[in-house]
Symmetry: C2
Subunit: 213 residues, 2 copies
Amino acid sequence: MDGRAGRVYRSRMDSPIDFFFDFSSPYSYIANEWVDAVAARHGRTVRRHAILLGATFQAAELKSPVSYPIKREYSLRDFARSARFEGLPFQLPEPFPQSTQNAARLFWWLHDTESPAAAARWATAGLRAVFARGTALQDTAALQALATDQGIAPAAAEAVWSDPLWKARLKRANDEAIAAGVFGAPFFIVEAEPFWGNDRRPQIERWLQEGPF
Amino acid sequence: MDGRAGRVYRSRMDSPIDFFFDFSSPYSYIANEWVDAVAARHGRTVRRHAILLGATFQAAELKSPVSYPIKREYSLRDFARSARFEGLPFQLPEPFPQSTQNAARLFWWLHDTESPAAAARWATAGLRAVFARGTALQDTAALQALATDQGIAPAAAEAVWSDPLWKARLKRANDEAIAAGVFGAPFFIVEAEPFWGNDRRPQIERWLQEGPF
């Protein structure tokens, strides 16, 4: 291996997987369950980004798939089937989709003031609450109950999501995602290569295993 | 196994896989390459349906993913990558998407006057022309050249696609697809279970192997 190939190789192995998700995205829930193990198998880490799909849809002039009645009917079926395919429990919250900006602001607060690992634990707890148990996380009481479970006092949680600082932080995350070409969730970027959708897992695994194809 | 289970089992094994495709759909090209082998491995046959995505998009109030600039850029990349992932050659025709009603009318003409197998051969020849070689099949000359390769005289081909009978036949196929819930391509129906997208292959394979999950 010459010097240049060596550098490229090291650069690749150092590069984390960027994983963009929305707390209201069923396929993000599924992907969140496998992404760490897949990354670890290839010596990678995962960098999670909580975003709002509404913002990325608007930027790309898209609408949610479930806003189209015919596609919604299929999608609801496919959400549950795709979860069963991975052996995961699944329950759709009512209403669906949920408003998730407060959960996402808590994510960025944990990320910036505690650690990316603490934010990742919050992401997993939130996605499981919404889609394994059907929790309506847009309800203040439900979100505060989850926060309490995770060691965050209800008043502290509410102070975070009401704070212009954390509102702006989430907006920045959305803007950065849009600038990176993200238009849906889950969305993965591996060495500048974009992969959209839980169903791109086989391609991501080959990319990590063998490099660009 | 009791009588009822036996009946269900036989009924399942008799049921063909309905495969809806558009000659202008890159993911249909990819799926067309594996669907027969997957079906055969589980004792099934494939029933192909040439449709026009434009008709199903209109019925579901959808637009093509490539009509959104940001999604188009990703999609073009993903088409080629998804083909490489399956070890298939890929070349995008210009312009993309192509108008494919004439190729689809020839499909139904072969299907009804010769055999579903002849129509399937035409489907494969057409999809490979468009996406393995980048042929602009919407051009009369290119379509007639492909017809000639497949043993259909150019004048006969033109007579078919100009004939109100075969125009109506394609319209009926679109209407039937829409009635069955088809809103994109490739689209598969296996024992009334809908699967949308080339990337649902793993779920289809498990369904065929183990039954409903």
